[in-house]
């Protein structure tokens, strides 16, 4: 246990800052909010695609990876510095996380040599991926998925439906979990396929988020032919990968999550001053309490990151997703409280400095529901971390 950065770490930070000062796109500096897009084709604008490619080309997309995968072989501690620096500048790396955050690490772990050739384009953002897990009857109960892939000589025939598939409308490829053997117990008959989204028989119908903005889609499969070589990780071997996918999603999440949360708290302080509530003892205590939560979670996250970096799976990750998503919801509610009667007003003419809180409040439900709801996270903590009996 010690609190110090090495000279190499400081040099890493200096290099990063120099890169960011030079290359950060202007659009990012004016407070770009990619959740505000009405037209799904604009979901990931061109300048953001260019930014992701620039990060990749300079080895700053996933710095822990080697250069051919958009990195510079940095240490885990340096990755931490990287993520925090980005978050403190409110920078995002990409407008579409599935490719670099889920598909790439999953293919590196489970894909064959041919499939791993897809990794650089996934990380650089040249290929946009979507994740086909949830179905109308299989959300929390992912293993209940029914989209069927029948094995024929050299290909699969896929029939069924996915839902809430983020980015499906703009994606080229889908990381799609399908049932390949309905006779086996439900966790054991699932496989993972790489499906080209433009394959005949795929119908994508956009769904809008609660805010009315573009976001996700229903994806229908009718007799879709998928070549055999698109199977990832062995026939009926999909379940192990789903567990991996979610772990990848969570591992990086907390650092960015905590740093973004700290930004929100700074925003609350500014807001309290603007609204003349900075002297209100109730508001002061609530802001302090939000900070206390953030700071303790940050410490917990560091601890988890350290053991994750040493190769062990860290129970801290299970806490982080639930805690961060719930905490950020509460912070937006506090922003609404500070805004008083302006809170529900979205009109920028009247509420330019307050309207992001009510917007953020509604958007915050995405994170307490998607990727394993808060209730499911609590089950995981109770059963897998604490060893309580299952029902």
């Amino acid at each position: 246990m010690q609190l110090a950065w090495s000279p190499e770490d400081e040099e890493f930070r200096t290099d990063l800052i120099a890169f960011l000062d030079e290359h950060t796109p202007e659009q990012m500096l004016v407070g770009f909010d990619f959740q505000d897009v009405d037209d799904e084709r604009e979901l990931v604008p061109q300048w953001l695609r260019d930014w992701q490619a620039t990060l990749f080309d300079h080895g700053w997309m996933i710095p822990g990876y080697p250069s051919e995968r958009g990195g510079r072989n940095c240490t885990p501690v340096q990755t931490l510095i990287y993520l925090e620096t980005l978050a403190s500048r409110r920078l995002i790396r990409s407008g579409h996380f599935p490719g670099y955050a889920i598909v790439a690490p999953s293919l590196l772990e489970y894909g064959n040599e041919e499939q791993q050739k897809l990794v650089p384009a996934a990380i650089r953002g040249d290929t946009i991926w979507c994740i086909g897990m949830s179905e109308p009857n299989a959300g929390s109960d992912l293993a209940g998925l029914q989209t069927r892939a029948e094995v024929r000589d050299d290909h699969f025939v896929v029939n069924g439906q996915k839902v809430w598939t983020s980015y499906a409308m703009i994606a080229q490829k889908c990381f799609c979990y399908v049932r390949t053997d309905p006779t086996l117990p439900k966790h054991k008959g699932i496989s993972l396929l790489i499906i080209d989204v433009d394959t005949p028989g795929i119908d994508i119908r956009p769904l809008r988020h609660i805010s009315g903005t573009a976001g996700f889609a229903e994806v229908f499969f009718t007799d879709v032919i998928v070549p055999r070589e698109n199977l990832v990780g062995g026939l009926n071997g999909g379940w192990a990968i789903t567990q991996g996918s979610l772990a990848h999603e969570r591992a990086g999440l907390w650092v960015e999550g905590v740093a973004r949360f700290e930004q929100t708290i700074e925003g609350l302080v500014t807001l309290a001053r603007q609204q003349g509530r900075a002297g209100d003892p109730i508001i002061r205590r609530k802001i302090a309490s939000a900070y206390e939560l953030a700071a303790s979670l940050r410490a917990l996250g560091y601890k988890g990151f350290a053991s994750f970096a040493q190769g062990s799976s860290a129970p801290e990750h299970s806490y982080m997703k639930m805690a961060m998503s719930e905490a950020s919801k509460a912070a937006f509610e506090l922003g609404m409280e500070i805004s008083g009667s302006l809170a529900p007003v979205t009109d920028p003419v009247f509420a330019a400095s307050t309207n992001r809180f009510v917007h953020g409040f509604f958007m915050s439900f995405a994170n307490t529901i998607a990727g394993g709801s808060s209730e499911i996270q609590r089950n995981i903590i109770a059963q897998r971390v604490l060893g309580l009996p299952r029902r």
């Binding site: 609660i210 409280e337 009667s341 809170a343 007003v345 009109d347 003419v349 509604f362």
Partner: protein
């Protein structure tokens, strides 16, 4: 004390419930997002009930629970509030509280004939809406329309302080009744979803995590409903507890609405996060209502004043 409804009140509740169910389906609330005139067929029916504005608070609150349940668009709440303040039940109207920073915007001003303006003093002026430049203020709630006014010079008459105080109390109780109605809508949708939706081969309502949430939501809802009814009774009985009871009603309704809207969307999972599902029509109203006629925190502060000072 008698919480039971008289036969007339039961009739009023049943009639209003049926009327709103028939005339204000979710499709109307949704149509109103883009087309403010979508409320007009509904208004032709609701307009027949505006006399409730000058009648007993208990009757009006029963009716408002149903307009809240349906998230009814239109100037019913505004007009009954206007009538209660001015005694004028021949025109449609709304009330602008220039004296009060907790209520900076004016309900439904573009679809009424008169605006009653309360200015510091308190003083009251009644204006023709055509004399007041209006500016629409967009909020998260598509079912209500708020406006900022560009008020002309007012020739206002003194308004008796206790008359105004009583009107405000009545407004809190009315708002509480509407909020309780909207919260009940979300609660009902959520409860039936928890019974229907299966995951892991069982209804999600069989998980204790979901049961406990629904139990807490139900408690919040039932106590807020009782508090709203009680507040209306103190108004009609001119009871000395009325000031406290009205603050309690609005605060309890705010707490219930917030809890129920949050857990309601959470229990719906992904489907509740879509624009296509109707839940958000009611979530939006429940969210925004807390900030009309004083937030939950503001009412608690006023209660503290009454209890401690």
């Amino acid at each position: 004390m008698d919480f039971s409804l008289t036969p007339d009140q039961e009739l009023l509740r049943d009639t209003s419930r049926k009327l709103l169910e028939r005339e204000c389906p979710p499709a109307l609330v949704r149509a109103h997002i883009d087309d403010p005139s979508a409320h007009e067929p509904l208004w032709r029916h609701l307009a027949e009930y505006t006399a409730l504005g000058t009648g007993p608070a208990a009757d009006l609150c029963l009716f408002l629970e149903e307009t809240g349940y349906a998230a009814a668009p239109g100037p019913f709440l505004a007009t009954t509030g206007y009538a209660a303040l001015t005694g004028d039940d021949t025109a449609t109207g709304t009330v602008a509280l220039v004296d009060d920073s907790t209520h900076p915007f004016v309900l439904e001003a573009d679809r009424v004939e008169r605006i009653a303006v309360v200015s510091p003093g308190p003083r009251l002026a009644v204006l023709d809406v055509t004399d007041v430049p209006l500016r629409f203020v967009a909020t998260v709630d598509f079912s209500r329309r708020l406006f900022a006014l560009d008020l002309p010079h007012l020739t206002a008459q003194p308004l008796a302080a206790d008359v105004y105080a009583r009107w405000r109390e009545r407004a809190y109780a009315c708002m509480a009744a509407e909020m309780v109605g909207t919260a009940r809508r979300i609660f009902d949708m959520t409860l039936s979803y928890a019974k229907e939706r299966k995951q892991f081969d069982v209804p999600i309502g069989s998980f204790q995590a979901i049961q406990h949430k629904l139990a807490d939501m139900s408690l919040a809802l039932e106590r807020a409903t009782a508090a709203a009814h009680y507040a209306a009774m103190t108004i009609d009985g001119d009871d000395p507890e009325r000031a406290r009871a009205c603050h309690v009603a609005k605060a309890a309704a705010g707490e219930a609405a917030r809890r129920i809207l949050k857990d309601g969307i959470q229990i719906h999972g992904g489907i509740g996060y879509t624009w296509e599902h109707d839940l958000h029509l009611y979530l939006r109203r429940a969210t925004a209502d807390e900030y009309l006629f004083g937030t939950t925190g503001w009412h608690l502060d006023r209660l503290a004043d009454l209890l401690i000072d």
